[in-house]
Amino acid sequence: MKHKLFGIIRRAGLLVLVVWTVVSLVTILIELVPGDPAIAVLGEQATPEQLAQFRAKHGLDRPAFLFGFPRDENSQRHFRWYGLSNRYDDYWVAILHGDLGTSFRTDRPVVDLILERYPATIELAIVAMLIAVCIAIPLGVIAGKNRGTLIDNSLSVIALVGISLPGFVIGPLLVYLFAVKLQWLPGYGLEGWQSIILPAFTLGAALSAILTRMVRSSVIEELSEGYVRTARAKGLSETTVVYKHVLKNGLIPVVTVLGLQLGVLLAGAIITEKIFGWPGLGLLLVEDGIGKRDYSVVQGCVLTISTTYILANTLTDVVYRWLDPRIRVS
């Protein structure tokens, strides 16, 4: 029990450390902007007053960190301690109050922008996952049951092709096929519930390929177990053996991958959302954030996506340990 508690504390500690590092990295990203961020946002024509006002409004006139090495009149760099009055500190205080700053462009709170867009991304990721599972389980079972045959080999090659084809190739191809040629489905933006089909399929394609491979090897492994022989000896039909007994045990690793992939899907959604004009977090990041140099929006999006990713991974790990006691022991 004591050992278990220590493990949990260790994990939680690591989680806090990782989140702290990610937040710190995101806050200092703005220091990477070549030149002056204010000029980058407002343009070269901006008057000195406008620039000064902008810097003051977004705290860019304040020191970036606890200390720095500013230049003096002779262009020499000297160490200087700023204390707690710095932007890094401000950012932390704000985050702990649920505030991610205001957009450089629209003056709206970044949190509001993110909350508006987040549901669309989650919806896309979940539908993509459902599609992937619905494709992968039957295909994986068929490949595993017919191991080494032509069916198995061709399914394996298809899966590998699925992993290798990036979303930005599959996506436009699907648009060409289903929106331009056949005109069955909308290819861009939000037009009714059908709009989600193409983006979700694009996002889920690689995952379905990965899952097919996993289900296949799981089925092969489980089919050689003793309980399968028992079930067969009892006279159960092959379908019952595979779908009721083998799959139940074989799906444990699949659950982990699904959880881990939820994070990957959220990150991959950036490209899919751009292709289909899907109004989620990825589009906010790429078009409103990066495209318009709205650095505070970029920071907010990166922070939200990566934190979700980290939490999803940690949660999967916990669920996996709980599902499979063998892992707990080792």
Partner: protein, 271 residues
């Protein structure tokens, strides 16, 4: 060697030769636009047809191989070297060094979704080939580091390492002369998969407008330029050829990586 890895090797050899001899293979200048011949299908003059501004798609795909290969080689080499050194130090010294490196440092980098970190870096640094390579190295090294750490942990317990130590060899010599040469075999698998990843990431970032800026003939840029509805309608081949190039290259490196893994790990071969 499996049949798939041989196919992979053949594709990669073709890809490398095309990249090296691009100026001799390309039939047209990659930047010359000619609106009179825009949206043309395949023909003797333009093997892969032309794009929305009348540029020759075949020549652009050929030169695109150069960008992909350059990014792939630099990213994999730098990531592998940095990852190997950090991983070897973590595995060899263990103790608090290892606890800091693999317990904290690796986890931070693994915790970030890789592409997002690259996007974030390039978004703030500005787009460009060198910045793209830098960003991909930042996300790439940790895979190698983790692998080498695990290998070094295993190899350093072998008798010949004890023998070298008994003969008075220093840490540096033991690590780099005795342990590493016996630990880096699986690195080849990782490097092959890493090439696939780098080619894909370069295309993804260029597609998002964060990599090689247009009009450079990066495959990602070509796909981005070919995916508006009017081009899709008039010239779907402008999308298909660079898409095929990316898919084949990535597939080939994955085939080789998978083949090598099976070759190096006989337990997997029997499955």
């Amino acid at each position: 060697m499996s049949r798939l890895s041989i196919i992979g090797i053949v594709i990669v050899v073709v890809f490398v030769l095309v990249a090296i001899f691009a100026p001799w293979i390309a039939t047209h200048d990659v930047g010359t636009t000619n609106l009179a011949v825009r949206y043309m299908g395949s023909s003797a003059a333009h093997w892969f047809g032309t794009d929305s501004t009348g540029r020759d798609i075949f020549s652009r795909v050929v030169f695109g191989a150069r960008i992909s290969l350059e990014v792939g080689i630099v990213v994999v080499t730098v990531s592998a070297i940095v990852g190997t050194i950090i991983g070897a130090v973590a595995g060899y010294y263990s103790g608090w060094v290892d606890r800091f490196l693999s317990g904290y440092f690796f986890n931070v980098f693994l915790a970030f979704p890789g592409l997002l970190l690259a996007i974030a870096l390039v978004a703030f640094l500005g787009a460009g080939l060198n910045k793209l390579i830098f960003a991909l190295c930042i996300i790439g090294w940790v895979g190698y580091a983790r692998l080498i750490r695990a290998q070094v942990l295993k190899v350093r317990e072998y008798d010949f390492v004890q023998a070298a130590r008994a003969l008075g060899a220093g840490d540096f010599r033991i690590l780099f002369v005795h342990i590493l040469p016996n630990a880096i075999q699986p690195l080849i698998v990782q490097a092959s998969l890493g090439m696939a990843g780098a080619v894909l990431s370069e295309a993804s970032l260029s597609f998002l407008g964060l990599g090689v800026p247009p009009p450079a003939p990066s495959w990602g840029v070509m796909i981005e330029e070919a995916r508006d509805l009017s081009t899709l309608q008039a010239a779907p081949h402008a999308l298909i050829f660079p898409g095929l190039a990316i898919a084949l290259t990535v597939l080939a490196f994955n085939f080789i990586g998978d083949g090598l893994r099976e070759y190096l790990d006989p337990r997997q071969r029997r499955r």
